[in-house]
Structures are given as structure tokens and as C-alpha cells.
């Protein structure tokens, strides 16, 4: 905590004249506080800083510092490293070369991985929103006795982690897995493992909890009077949903889409277990370049391209959606 004498004196005077009931406690009533010295010091500090305009920054300071150090600086650092020169022994040399970027954009294998990553992300995101919306809608509006249990059932898979679920899908989709057995009953021979539909199915189930939670938070804050008004004006359930509820929930749909899309762009466990070796997404390529080839500069360049493409698509999406938003719908 910075101890600037000038502002400290000013603040002290201000709290001196303020007429807060809390400032006039005598020592005998301070039950439970066993260190009066510390208490007074702390109390003085609170009095001095709580009216300051930067009080919020003081409290959020450690968090901001931590995020700066372990989030923004590392992300900036990979941008820097992406221009470095790779040295075969597993290290790199500071330089300014576009070699890494040129290598990426001239190798069909990498461009293809990027293309596949974007393609899978778009399809999975759409699929995720479609399957998540009914759940969020039901939990918020159905007033069912066990809705809270449903919330926990949505959160639980998210907490179990990608690896476990990717493994589960791997086992389900294998040639002797349950899905093949079920399809076999209908005379269909189709293995989902290493296919595009298999990827979309596995990835979307990973994304669903995020989408449901975001959609729910928007549906909860929705002005239900408007929905009641639609019913009163004679709309049936489907009409009300299509013309009132759904348009009002669009901010949630947009938010859920963004999170789902960005998370899929970095899909790792599922990409390795379900997609490889037939379908190559960018994240496993980045990982192998880092840990097996030890080419950190190139991995950094690929990461930065992945980040830039994600942010660019997110930006385009927000531009398009905000243009098509009717006025006053909250975005």
C-alpha cells in the first residue's frame, strides 16, 4: 500500500469531519478483536482510503498485478518469441525474422490444420448452442422441482475435465464401442472415431456446460413482463418464444457462441484422442512442435496465428451481429 503523505493527510481530514456512525465506537465495545493496536491501525487505514477514488484499484491491485505478470506479459512474450530464430539444440535466439510465419503460410499441412480447426470450431459451436438452449430454457422457465439438480448435472461434466470426457468418447466411438454396436443393430457400419461428425459430437459435449451457464444467466435476467404481455396478447407458446423470448435472449446466445468458439479453437485432448491421426487440429500441432521438436519460436508463431484468427473471427461475428440487432435489444 503506497503511503503518499499528501493524499493521506487530505483523506484523514475528510474522514475526520464525516459523520459516520461506525467511526465513533469506543474501545470497550470492540468485542472479539483481540489486538487493539492492529485494529486501530487497520481502522485508520480503512478510514483513510475508503473514500478515495482509487480505493477500488487498491483492492483489485494484487489481482491486476498478477494478471499483468502471468497473463498479459506471457501472451505478449509469445508474440515477441514468434519472431525469434530457432536454434536446433532446443533453445532460441532473439532475432527479428518472419521465417516462422512464412513457414506456416507456405506449408499446406499447417494451413490445412488451421482450416480444419476453424471449420470444426464453427460447426461445433452452432451444434453446441442448438443443444444447450433447450436445457437453459427449461431450467430457467420450467419451475421444475429438480431444476437445481439439473444445474449440478450440467456443471459436473465441466468439472470432471476434458481428458476424462475425451477418453469416454474415445471408448464409446471405437470400432467395438457401444455406438457401433447400436448402429450395428440398425445395419449401419459407421465408426465415429477419427471422423468429422465424431469430433463435433465429442467437442460439443465439452462446450455444452459453458454455453448452458451463459444462456441461463441471460435468461434469468430477462424481463418476464414482456413474455407475460405476449401471452396476454394471445400468443401461444411457440409464437411467444419465437417473437419475444428468443430475440430477448440473443445477447446470451452471442456470448455463449463467443466462448464456445474460442474454447474449440484450442481443443486439445479431444483433438488428440478422437481426431488424430486423420483429422489434425492446430492445438496438437503446437504441442508437438513445443515438446517434441523443441521449436519454441515456431510454436509461438502458430499460437499467435491461432489467437489472431480467433480474435478476428470473434470481431467479425460481433460486427455482423450488432448490425443485425434491432434497436434497443440490449447490445
Amino acid at each position: 500500500m503506497s503511503d503518499e503523505p499528501g493524499s493521506g493527510v487530505g483523506a484523514g481530514q475528510r474522514s475526520g469531519v464525516s459523520d459516520e456512525p461506525g467511526t465513533t465506537v469506543d474501545a470497550s465495545r470492540r468485542g472479539g478483536i483481540t489486538v487493539p493496536f492492529l485494529h486501530d491501525r487497520l481502522h485508520g487505514l480503512i478510514q483513510r482510503y475508503k473514500q478515495e477514488s482509487y480505493a477500488g484499484y487498491l483492492l483489485a491491485g494484487p489481482y491486476l498485478f498478477y494478471m499483468l505478470l502471468f497473463f498479459f506479459v506471457p501472451i505478449g512474450y509469445i508474440f515477441l518469441v514468434s519472431f525469434y530464430q530457432n536454434v536446433p539444440a532446443g533453445t532460441m535466439e532473439p532475432a527479428f525474422t518472419l521465417e516462422n510465419y512464412i513457414r506456416f503460410f507456405t506449408t499446406p499441412q499447417y494451413l490445412n490444420a488451421l482450416y480444419v480447426t476453424v471449420e470444426i470450431s464453427v460447426i461445433s459451436t452452432v451444434f453446441t448452442i442448438v443443444v444447450s438452449y433447450p436445457i437453459a430454457y427449461f431450467i430457467v422457465f420450467a419451475n421444475w422441482r429438480y431444476s437445481e439438480v439439473l444445474v449440478l448435472l450440467v456443471i459436473a461434466p465441466m468439472l470432471v475435465g476434458n481428458v476424462v470426457r475425451a477418453f469416454g468418447w474415445f471408448a464409446l466411438m471405437g470400432s467395438s464401442g457401444v455406438i457401433n454396436q447400436v448402429l450395428g443393430v440398425f445395419g449401419v457400419q459407421y465408426t465415429l472415431l477419427n471422423t468429422m461428425p465424431g469430433m463435433v459430437i465429442a467437442i460439443s459435449s465439452v462446450l455444452m456446460p459453458f454455453a448452458v451457464l451463459i444462456l441461463m444467466s441471460v435468461l434469468y435476467t430477462m424481463d418476464t413482463d414482456l413474455i407475460d404481455a405476449a401471452y396476454n396478447l394471445g400468443g401461444n407458446r411457440l409464437q411467444t418464444f419465437l417473437y419475444v423470448t428468443f430475440p430477448l435472449s440473443l445477447p446470451g446466445v452471442i456470448g455463449a457462441t463467443l466462448i464456445a468458439f474460442v474454447l474449440t479453437m484450442g481443443t486439445f485432448a479431444t483433438a488428440v484422442f478422437i481426431g488424430e491421426p486423420n483429422i489434425r487440429m492446430l492445438a496438437p500441432v503446437i504441442y508437438r512442435t513445443t515438446s517434441r521438436d523443441l521449436n519454441w519460436a515456431f510454436a509461438a508463431a502458430m499460437s499467435f496465428i491461432l489467437l489472431a484468427v480467433s480474435l478476428l473471427l470473434v470481431y467479425l461475428y460481433t460486427v455482423v451481429t450488432s448490425r443485425n440487432q434491432p434497436e434497443g435489444s440490449g447490445i
Binding site: 498478477y66 512474450y77 437445481e148 476424462v164 484450442g266
Partner: protein, 291 residues
């Protein structure tokens, strides 16, 4: 952009929808109820199937993932417990998850307090920015932290792993603490002030105890997401340090095995125990604001 033709088109669809009456019932069963039951069971089956199936494989004596299992066995669990490398991984995962949780909670709770209680410039920006670690592809965060931490020789150490995963845990921690703070009834604090308590007393005796469920929920969430994280952990670990998700990942490179299913089930049990505890003690869904 509501042109006239667009409007008629809208109402043509509306008149079709108007004819579909979901409140009808067939033999006492409402149409809407049945459609909801079907939709919900299909979607929840889809969501939970991989998790349930991992549990099923772990007690299945066959290692070909056949279904239904012919009998039930615990030998895959025995195989896990016999190998010290799995035990070491469990211990390591618990160590860094606890450390990362402590870091994340300390940082996030003060940030959340500032966001919820103070007016300052960029407050809304800070509020939105707490999502940031979730808003970039996770693999990039993993690589970025590896490159950054190896500058200080912190990669492949417990400290480095904890510092890195705390970043990943902060969005979950901040959001659940913020949810708790937004549900907070501030008139109780007012009452404490009116009864003569000062800020410290009010905080220690009123505010903190009332926020405690939210803080514990946040802690358990942070712990669990850190514990099950692969994308960041896989970059920051190496020889001699293999957390559970990374070891599962490494094993999968040699093909799946029911042993992985057994480990996955142990993870599921740990996570479920954490969730049920929070729910029993404080109502996790409520603490998160979803009620």
C-alpha cells in the same frame, strides 16, 4: 429493418405457429410435457454419456470396452493403486491444485470485492476482463506460460505449475465470488453499522461469514478446474512431474486402457464428492446465483 414484406412474412409464419397448440393433451399426458421429457433426456444423455461410460469401463473385466459388461471387477483399481507412479501423480495434482486455489481465491476475492462494492473508472472493464483467461484458446495460455516461466527456471516445478494454474482458476473464482456478492443483502451491514460496529467488526462478524459459502464454493470450483486441467499442465511438466491429466494423456498415446478408466472414475468420484459437499453445505447452485 422491418420492411412491409418482411412483416407479412413474419406473420405468415406466426399464423402457422398459432395453429400448433402445445397445451393439448393426449390421454392425460400433455404434449409439451412429453416433448420436454424427450428433449431433456436426449440432451442430458449426450452430456453425461462419456462420463458414465468411463465409469462402466472401469469395472468391466474386458479391455475391449464391450457393453454391457459380463461381470464386475475391481482389478483395474487394484492396478492403479499398485503403481506408485499413479499415486505420485495424484499427490502432485492435489498439491498444485491446493496452492493454485489459495492464490486464486486470495486474488479474486479482493478483486471481486472491489468490483462489487467500489465505484471506480474501468470498473466495468475489469468486471469483463475477469473472463479473459477463458477467452483465449487454452493451448496458447499453456505455451505462453511455459515460455515465460522458463525464463525464471520455474517450468517443471511445483511453484511454476501453481502460479500458472492460478491464472486459469481466476475466472471461475471471481465469477462465483461476484455472484455471492451480488446476492448479498447489504441491509444487514447497515444494521451492524447502526448498532455501533465499525468496518472491521462488521466485516469480520457479518460480511465475511455471509460471504463464506460463496468463497468456499469458489475455492472448490477453482480446485476442481485446476485439478482436471490438461492444456496448461501438459506444457509445464516434464520428467519426474506428471499430474493426473497429463499422465492419462501420456498413457493414451499408447492406446486406451481400462486402467485409465479407473483413474478417470477416481477423478469423477473426487469431483462429485466436492460438488455434493458444496451443495449439501451451502447450495452450490444458489451460491452461484442460479436459483
Amino acid at each position: 429493418m422491418s420492411t412491409d414484406s418482411g412483416r407479412t412474412k413474419k406473420f405468415r409464419l406466426s399464423s402457422v405457429l398459432g395453429k400448433i397448440d402445445l397445451s393439448k393433451s393426449l390421454g392425460g399426458v400433455s404434449l409439451a410435457g412429453v416433448s420436454w421429457a424427450v428433449i431433456l433426456s436426449v440432451v442430458f444423455l449426450y452430456l453425461l454419456l462419456p462420463v458414465i461410460f468411463a465409469v462402466v469401463i472401469s469395472v468391466n473385466p474386458s479391455d475391449l470396452y464391450t457393453f454391457p459388461p459380463e461381470s464386475i471387477t475391481l482389478r483395474w483399481y487394484a492396478a492403479v493403486l499398485e503403481r506408485t507412479q499413479w499415486i505420485d501423480s495424484f499427490v502432485l495434482s492435489f498439491q498444485y491444485s491446493i496452492l493454485a486455489t489459495v492464490i486464486a481465491i486470495v486474488l479474486s476475492s479482493s478483486a471481486a470485492y472491489a468490483i462489487a462494492r467500489f465505484e471506480f473508472r474501468f470498473r466495468n472493464l475489469l468486471d469483463a476482463a475477469t473472463f479473459l483467461p477463458l477467452m483465449i484458446p487454452q493451448i496458447i495460455l499453456g505455451l505462453a506460460l511455459l515460455l515465460f516461466l522458463q525464463l525464471f527456471d520455474l517450468n517443471n516445478t511445483l511453484i511454476g505449475l501453481s502460479l500458472a494454474l492460478a491464472v486459469y482458476a481466476t475466472p471461475y473464482a471471481t465469477r462465483s465470488i461476484l455472484a455471492a456478492m451480488q446476492n448479498f443483502d447489504r441491509s444487514v451491514e447497515e444494521a451492524a453499522y447502526n448498532l455501533g460496529a465499525d468496518e472491521i467488526q462488521t466485516f469480520l462478524r457479518v460480511t465475511f461469514p455471509m460471504l463464506l459459502p460463496g468463497l468456499l464454493t469458489a475455492a472448490i470450483f477453482s480446485f476442481v478446474v485446476t485439478y482436471s486441467n490438461l492444456q496448461i499442465a501438459v506444457f509445464l511438466t516434464g520428467a519426474g512431474m506428471t499430474p493426473i491429466p497429463v499422465r492419462i494423456f501420456a498413457q493414451m498415446q499408447f492406446g486406451g486402457s481400462p486402467i485409465i478408466a479407473a483413474v478417470a472414475t477416481i477423478n469423477i468420484v473426487i469431483v462429485l464428492a466436492a460438488i455434493v459437499t458444496t451443495e449439501r453445505l451451502f447450495g452450490a447452485a444458489e451460491a452461484l446465483g442460479y436459483t
